[in-house]
């Protein structure tokens, strides 16, 4: 099968909220394999979310293990993931396969605890920090129809946004 095509902004489908997975079957396993293939096909990509390939399910993959010397959990296959705890704030640069040729500075929680199901519906909890935590937050945003462009801040003035609006 050909590698799944990644939707690119301004495709309005990227702003759609994805639905929870309710059926944990062979088709889900097959989709995860295809999703991972699409992630690996994107140069330098360490994560992908189902809506990026036109499937509006709460499914994402994060794998930052290629980056040297950082804490990680290997290849995380996240089904119905939810961030249940966040700590710290840190700025970092992000880009996205769905937003080619642009990177921006985004403030994210330094560490997050993710409650998630696996491909068989089993629940797990992961404590992610730094780069991996950033990737997890970026991918879960996709499931809620948010792009990093919705969170980009001024690199020049080192500003943190006032919390007037919670995404």
């Amino acid at each position: 099968m050909a590698v799944l095509k990644v939707l690119q902004y301004p495709d309005p489908r990227l702003k759609q909220v994805s639905a929870p997975v309710t059926v944990f079957d062979a088709a889900l396993h097959a989709f995860l394999a295809d999703l991972e293939e699409a992630m690996r096909a994107g140069p330098g990509s360490v994560g992908i979310a189902a809506p990026q390939v036109n499937r509006f399910l709460r499914v994402a993959i994060v794998d930052v293990s290629s980056k040297p010397g950082i804490p990680h959990h290997g290849c995380l296959r996240l089904i119905n993931p939810e961030i249940v705890r966040r700590a710290g704030e840190v700025k970092g640069r992000e880009g996205c396969m769905s937003v080619p040729d642009y990177t921006g500075t985004v403030v994210r929680a330094q560490s997050v605890r993710v409650l998630t199901q696996d491909a068989d519906g089993q629940w797990h909890e992961y404590d992610c920090e730094a780069f991996e935590a950033r990737a997890v937050q970026h991918e879960i945003d996709h499931l809620d129809g948010l792009l990093f462009l919705d969170r980009v801040v001024s690199a020049r003035h080192d500003l943190f946004r006032r919390k007037v609006k919670q995404f």
Partner: protein, 179 residues
């Protein structure tokens, strides 16, 4: 439409400098829009009370651009400068190192720091400086994003001698998360 790319486009760099006031950007870009021009990448900032604009413009030759913009800049008391450039969109270089330099203000900080960076093969992609503190005791602050093939270690080695002069220097690897 801003930034719509066509073949054989000729870009100009429009530079405008002058006393800051509201609506400079609005009036200039409105004139360019009405004249059928496209805008590309831009950087604009208020420096020392002056508004400074560097703006990629395409869709008109130098004479036509001048005719569109000059009435606006004259009316606003701004200096205008136009250069044809060899330029294209979608040619970003991703920075991989960030350097922060600060210290009590004195002549030569920028020259010393950037000479050391140049010797390490560091290409500056974005640089902002500020003079902060008080008029009696000013401090100089410089933030630089750049690309260097050898990475953070080479930059650290090149810039370390500045610390002996009482300048604070930090070098951080920038790792862009692509998701």
């Amino acid at each position: 439409m801003a930034g719509l790319t066509k073949r054989n486009e000729q870009w100009h760099m429009l530079t405008v400098v002058g006393a800051d006031r509201p609506a400079i950007v609005a009036k200039l870009t409105e004139a360019l829009f009405r004249g059928g021009c496209n805008l590309g990448e831009a950087s604009m900032a208020r420096l020392g009370g002056n508004f400074c604009m560097m703006l990629m413009v395409e869709g008109a030759d130098a004479a036509a651009l001048e005719k569109l913009v000059r009435p606006v800049t004259d009316a606003l008391g701004l200096r205008l400068h136009l250069d044809p450039i060899h330029g294209e969109l979608h040619r970003h270089v991703e920075p991989n190192v960030q350097v922060t330099v600060y210290g009590a203000d004195r002549p030569g900080i920028v020259a010393q720091a950037t000479t050391a960076l140049a010797a390490a093969g560091f290409n500056i992609l974005d640089l902002n400086t500020d003079v902060a503190g008080t008029a009696e005791r000013p401090i100089y602050i410089m933030l630089i994003d750049g690309y260097v093939a050898e990475g953070v270690v080479a930059v650290e080695r090149a810039i370390a001698p500045l610390r002996a002069d009482g300048i604070e220097v930090s070098v951080t690897a920038l790792d862009t998360m692509i998701g």
